[in-house]
Amino acid sequence: MSEKLLDKEIRKQVEEVLSNMKDRVSVIFFVSKERCEFCETIEKLLGELSELTDKLTIRKVSASGEEARSLDIEMTPAIVPLTADGNDKGVRFYGIPSGHEFGTLLKTLVDFSAGATPNISEKTLERLDTINQPLDIKVFVTTSCPYCPKAVLTAFNFAFANSNITASMVEASEFEELSKRFGVSSVPQVVINSSRSFVGAFPEEQYLDEVMKTVAR
């Protein structure tokens, strides 16, 4: 177990990315008692990340407790980043953020350290502002999909912009039942409010068009 997940070269790159962190970020890692293929790896990964910056705190918490209920944790393993003020922005990683999704995790940590403010156009912000009821965006990914990070990060930015919106990365291979339920066979597949879905990493405006179709109904 002494061997690191991240090799020396990657650690150097990670350190450089995380050096952009402005404020502290705390990450809650929710686990349950059920068998979990990647839980140990995720815990180790988060631990290694916290060695590479002094701005990251990791807490491992049981998914059967009060905190999981209040944060509405739907399944495990789940990773929830919080801003320095302890703000939940509705952002979740369900499953391991490895492969291309590792970059998504790093980017998200840096974003949270800056208060998780959205980096999207004024027009998109205005349209998102009109959403006044809960909206859930789940982005199904595989860790070998190069187009997926963009689809996840767009959803996260929408969540940053409006507190009615929750956005999750779902690593499809770890949640087979759920993936089957939504008929996922190509990624990224974006599922909105467990009803509507679309496949592909759409540009911001088109992505929002799809999201708004659900709101309009």
């Binding site: 990670v14 952009n20 391991i96 970059g103 860790t143 499809a172 066979s185 540009p203």
Partner: protein
């Protein structure tokens, strides 16, 4: 699980308002151009909408990039991006939503509404998978029809899939899929495969791949997901082949639609360039898979980049 890719997204800092060169597209062409630009004394920005390395990320192994006997597409992408970052190249993660000219300046409009200007623009937007354009293709896209084996192969574990196309990308993806799926049927419209011989031999050596040559896919059929493909043989006879998935790997189509009113393109959408890799618009260059040319390879994209930057410097910055 597939390692840990840092990616460029985490590095993306706030882009400045002005650069010497803006490169649209962060594949091997775009990244090489950025490195030559820095070495030529220019400040470059790469605008990438998805991920550095572009299509290389969809290639499991690359064995024709000199210096690496065999390297994964993801790793080569990372290494190229790291090379550019080492020279201080700025990356920004965004779609380009528009390009305009103001005098001799080029102005690039990003998704966020931000405008960035540069004297020189290099278009390195590459290409996307080409569609079959048959009935059922769009309907079953995401329900068994896929254009990215590395993305979606996982969902076909233990199943039978059809791989459409007989070129390099299709054979490479068949090799990748062979580790996941139970059985593969390669369907090619020509009388022979067009992939490099070494690659063909490797696929042929697998005992789970069947080849149907001179067969044209006419339709993709199914219910809530793909069930079969209708194919037509050389004698015009049709047959229905049962399958759980269809991987369409029949070449590419250029990412140049958003440039239709900016630069001259051929009837397929490939951008026309001269020997300097310059388009019909002075100061706007184009390189890699998006231009009109015969050989679309990592090596030729990198070659285009070196040529374009050389001339861009000579003609615009002295």
């Amino acid at each position: 699980m597939s390692g840990f890719e840092v990616g460029g997204l985490g590095f993306a800092k706030e882009a400045k308002d002005k650069y010497d060169v803006i490169i649209i597209g962060g594949g091997p062409g775009g990244i090489t151009a950025s490195i030559y630009a820095v070495q030529g004394g220019l400040s470059p920005l790469i605008v990438e909408r998805a991920i550095e390395g572009g299509q290389m990320n969809n290639t499991e192994t690359i064995e024709n990039w000199t210096g690496f006997k065999s390297i994964s597409g993801v790793e080569l992408s990372e290494r190229m991006a790291e090379h550019a970052r080492h020279f201080g190249v700025d990356f920004v993660s965004s779609e380009v939503t528009g390009i305009s000219q103001d005098g001799d300046k080029n102005i690039v409009l990003l998704e966020t509404g931000k405008q960035i200007e540069a004297l020189v623009l290099i278009i390195a937007t590459g290409a996307n998978p080409r569609k079959l354009r048959v009935p059922g293709e769009r309907e079953f896209s995401g329900k068994g029809v896929s254009y990215c084996a590395t993305c979606d192969g996982h969902f076909f574990s233990g199943k039978h899939v059809a791989v459409i196309g007989g070129g390099n990308s299709s054979m490479a993806e068949a090799l990748y899929l062979s580790k996941i799926v139970e059985r593969i049927t390669v369907i090619q419209d020509l009388p022979k495969l067009t992939a490099d011989k070494m690659l063909q031999d490797r696929v042929k050596a697998l005992n789970k791949v069947e080849f149907l040559l001179e067969r044209r896919v006419k339709e993709i059929r199914g219910d809530d997901k793909v069930r079969s493909v209708l194919i037509e043989g050389p004698d015009g006879k049709e047959e229905e082949l049962e399958t759980d998935g269809v991987f369409v790997l029949i070449g590419t189509t250029p990412n140049s639609e958003f440039l239709s009113s900016v630069v001259e393109r051929d009837e397929h959408g490939y951008i026309k360039v001269n020997a300097k890799k310059e388009t019909n618009v002075p100061g706007v260059y184009a390189i890699g898979d998006v231009i009109q040319k015969e050989v679309r390879q990592i090596a030729t994209a990198a070659g285009d980049a070196a040529i374009a930057v050389h001339h861009a410097i000579l003609d615009n910055f002295n």
